[in-house]
Each structure stands twice: as C-alpha cells, then as structure tokens.
Symmetry: C2
Subunit: 330 residues, 2 copies
C-alpha cells in the first residue's frame, strides 16, 4: 500500500485534524466523535447535519460552513458513523428551531441515525429527516435496501443549507430536501478500485481492460462489468440511464454534475462534461448550472459519476445563494 499515512488506524483522525487546522477560524472539532461544526454555530435557524462514512471527501466533512452543513460526524473510512457520534453531534448543535438529519441511504447509516434520532427526541430535540437515494444504477445493493445515496447529496445539502439560512422551518426543509432528492439522479463508472488505509488492499479487483458500470461509492457492484470503451460511448450509456429514469423532459431546466471519484484527472472530467453537455442539449434540456470536479469520492478511485437535477424556480434560486466552505480555490 502506497499512501500518505502514518498509523492507518489514525487516518481519519489525522485527516480531521488537518481540516481543522486549515480552518481554525471557522470550524470547531470534537475528535472523539469526528464532529466538525461551525465556530459561528447559529442558534436562530434550523441546523443541518450529515455524516456517512469517511473516504468520500470533500463529502461531507469539507462542506461545513454558512449555507451548507452546520456540522458533520462521519464514521471511519466507508463505515457509517456510530450511533453515539450522531447523537452527540445532534445534542451539540441543537436549538429550538430543530435539527435536520440528511442521511444517505445505506443500511448502516439508517440504523445509526434512527437510533440516534430516537435518543435525541427523547431528550426533547426536534428532528427532521431526509433520506437521499439518487443512484439509478441498481434497485437494491450490497449495503442498501433501495437505491444508494451518492453525489446528488450535494444538491440536497446546498438547497436545504441555503433555505435554512433564510429561516425556513424544519417542516419546510424536510419537504424541500425530499423534493430535491425526488428530482435528482446519478450513476457512476469505475476504472479502478481503491485501498482504505486500514484494510491495506483494494476493495475489489478489476482487470486492466475492464470498467464497472453503475459502481457504488464503496466499490459495490453496479449493473455489470464491461470492457473499456470510448468516453462518448460511456457518456451515452450513463447519460441515458440517468436521463430516462425520472424521465427528464424536453424544456427542463437542469443542473449537471460531473463528479470525480478521487483519482480521475480534472482534464478527463471536463472532457466528459463537454460530451454530457452536448447530450443534454440534444435532449432539449437547458443547463443552468454545472459542477465539474471532486465532490463525492471513493479515496483514489479512478472513475466519475454523472448527476442531473431537475430545477424548479425554488431550487434554482437556492443553488444561486452564497455558500462558504473550507475547500478553497483562488
């Protein structure tokens, strides 16, 4: 295993320390529960939190900030957060307006968040829940009953984060989050596997000429294994699968995301974006916003996912609201 790591058992803790040290003015850190939260934690609005497994950075630990998450509490690499992480995080940030739990649909996450919610509600904390399941690849999967939650998650965070900042109620935010989730679809392709530090070996094997179509973000099998094909052929299949699922319709206004899985050059992501944008145009869709880069990764996996979000005036307006997160560009 070749990675920049010290003791693999401390990998997540040392990553969190790095995020914290890079954002000491904006974030607070509770090491024992992997909690990162806003230093300027608001008391006068619903607070929004998330935390699936680590290893998907920048999801979710690097999107805590005004207009996005108020806190996160991820688990270990590719592992749901333990129930007490979720409970402690919920208690830490709770206020009278309530706490919104954004949960990606995996069995381990659902169980941990359900139990933590019950405990927090017993403490008198008001909780709302949105389940995210945007991955069209498979109906059920290795770690899910129902569809998986993948990169579409970012649009849910962005929309409810912006709406929460504007003072929407917990009930309104749950309805909004469910609407965004209902309007968003994703599918991913892997060229390579990835190696969690503590495991020290790839999570699956894949041949030198093979790709996995419909990969999950923890390496779960997709629709099938295939031979490598041209970028255009790959976009044709992925775009069609995502597009036809809702289905999107001519005249729809959309946001589109080409998400890198961690190890894909940004040059290839933009090449894929160009192909996807032309497909969208041919289908009569109007791309209002686009996102190209690493949003929801699987460590160093080479691959990408395509996400389409159907916009209405409310969602479109919320996507244009400001957000301030630790990921810094120039």
């Amino acid at each position: 295993m070749k990675k920049f790591v010290n003791d693999p058992a401390n990998f997540v803790k040392e990553m969190f320390e790095g995020i914290y040290l890079a954002n000491k003015d904006k974030l607070k850190w509770v090491p024992e529960y992997n909690i990162l939260y806003r230093a300027d934690l608001p008391k006068d609005k619903v607070v929004v939190m998330q935390g699936s497994g680590s290893g998907h950075e920048p999801a979710h630990s690097m999107v805590v900030g005004p207009g996005m998450l108020d806190a996160c509490c991820p688990g270990n690499i590719f592992a749901a957060p333990p129930m007490d992480y979720v409970y402690e995080c919920t208690k830490l940030i709770a206020n009278d307006k309530g706490v919104l739990h954004l949960i990606n649909n995996y069995q381990g996450d659902r169980m941990a968040w359900d139990m933590a919610r019950e405990m927090a509600e017993a403490d008198g904390i008001k909780i709302g829940v949105v389940i995210i399941d945007d991955d069209v690849s498979v109906t059920n999967s290795l770690y899910t009953v129902g569809r998986r939650g993948v990169a579409g998650n970012f649009f849910v965070i962005k929309a409810v984060g912006a709406a929460a900042a504007k003072g929407k109620s917990l009930e309104e935010l749950v309805a909004l989050g469910e609407k965004v989730n209902k309007n968003v679809r994703s599918m991913g392709i892997a060229l390579s596997s990835c190696t969690p530090p503590a495991k020290g070996a790839p999570i699956f094997d894949i041949g030198d000429d093979e790709i996995e179509i419909g990969i999950g973000i923890h390496g779960e099998p997709g629709r099938r294994r295939d031979k490598i094909r041209s970028a255009s052929e790959i976009i044709e299949e992925v775009f069609t699968a995502v597009h036809d699922d809702i289905p999107f319709q001519k005249g729809d206004r959309v946001a589109i995301m080409v998400n890198g899985m961690g190890g894909t050059p940004i040059s290839e992501l933009y090449l894929l974006y160009g192909l996807a944008a032309k497909k969208a145009e041919a289908k009569g869709l109007t791309i209002v916003k686009n996102y190209v880069g690493n949003y929801c990764t699987s460590l160093e996996m080479q691959g990408f996912s395509l996400t389409l979000l159907k916009l209405d005036s409310e969602i479109e307006s919320l996507l244009n609201e400001p957000a301030e997160i630790p990921i810094r560009v120039f």
Copy 2:
C-alpha cells in the same frame, strides 16, 4: 490504458471544449491555438497570460477569469505551447497597457515564449516577462536550465492578477511577479507515475514500495528514489527542504499550499496539511492563508507538493483580493 478519452490525439481539444461549454458565459475559445480568454476581456489594464503544457489542470486553463489570468494558450499534454499559440494569444488580447507573460521555467517554454515575444514586440506590442522557478528539488533538470516552475506559479498568478485588476503598470507587475517568485518555494513527492493519452503508457516506472522525492510535474527525476515512509517522515523531509531554501525565518508570515498531483485523495492532502502546519508552527512561522487541493497536477499521478510563500504586506493583501475562475464549488 484506461482513461475517459475518445481519440487520444483530440484529448486536449475535447478537454478545452468541455471547459468552454461549462463557462460559455465567461470564456471564449479559439480551438486552433488552444486559447481560452475572458469574454469580458479588459482593455483598460495590463492583460496577463500563461500557457505551459496541458495535463496540469487546473493550471493553467482553468484559472482564466477576473483577478487571475486573462488568457491561456497551453500546448499538448506535457508539451510547451508552439510559438504561434503564444503569438496569436498575445495579439488577440493585447492593449495599450501591455501584456504580461508568465512563463514556467522549462526550455521548451522559454524558447516558444521568447520567439513569440520578439514577434509581438515587432508588431508594437508592449510585453513584460516573469519567469517562475520555485522548485527546490534540483538545480538543473531534464527539461530545464535552472530550477523548474511548479505549483508556486499559482501565487504569482494570483498576486499579479489582483494587482493588474487594480491598475498597476506593466513594469510594476513584472517587479511584483519577480518578488513573489523570489519568495516562493516548492517540492514534490510522487507515489505513482501517470499516462498521457497519446503516449498510452506510463511516463516512468516506479516500484510498488518506492517513492520519488523531488519529482517534476512531467515525471522528471527528483533528488532520489526511496522506499515508502510514513507521512510524517515525508513531510519532515519536504518541509525542511522547502523551508531551509530561502531560508524562512521565525516570525515570517506565510501562505502554504498542499497541492495534489491529480490522483491523491483529498483526505491524504488534509492529513499532510495538518502535519505541515504543525511543522510550520514549530518553526515559528505564522500561516496566514492555506490552500489544500489540486492546483498543479500531473494527470492522475498520486503525489503532492508543498509550497511555502513568504508574505509581505503587499502580497498578503493581494492574496485576499477576489478572484473568479471556472473551477466551481458550492
């Protein structure tokens, strides 16, 4: 070769098309010369341009926008732009205030930009030149006489881009760019090689337990090949090499960048940042700004570089100026 690519010969063109389509409202594109330039190209200030090889994205093609580059004209993957790309780009954006050429120190680049500058000057265009050579790894290298220009380049772009927007003269910008270059030092480490699409094979071989210390961004040899070691040991060596080169001194205010080489998980970059930040603190440096992510890459190479920039009040103030570039986060 497993990549998201159609005809490898068209890789760069298709990438540029993707960047353009993702930013049609902000950029214009001249396919025959790989030129991307601001749609709102200013006529009342010095214009700033750059273009080394492609394959280092987001450098340089994804940082064209207000407060950064006004235009770029990169060559093919890891190849200097042909002289006529530079000449055509210079002519296209030139105005009475002058054109600033930011050139990374590689022989191919130096030759192409020198010839293009002479031609443009013969046309009556006023040109200023800043050479960037921040890499402390080696004295001369495979493609350079003198040091190589690597990720420190971003700080030069940011500072002169902001100062140009404030109306500084060409002479002032050249002096500023040279000052930033004099104050910035970098060094990189590779865990893996990378594969240019048109070559179809890795640019160098590296063993399963080996790392290259002082790697160049085109895979040029560094100081030595070594066995993989802990992240802390690696940071100790890289930080010391960079720190001791100027040398930085106790009390210095600095900006620090942990730059991913393209295939490194962002989790590892933040882990490395945490270690580097603690080293900086132990040396008595004050980190005023930090940058963690992919800035100057080598396709899908796994590796990172560390950059330290010594700040004075002028540079620090310029780093805080706004910039607007195609790379979009939430």
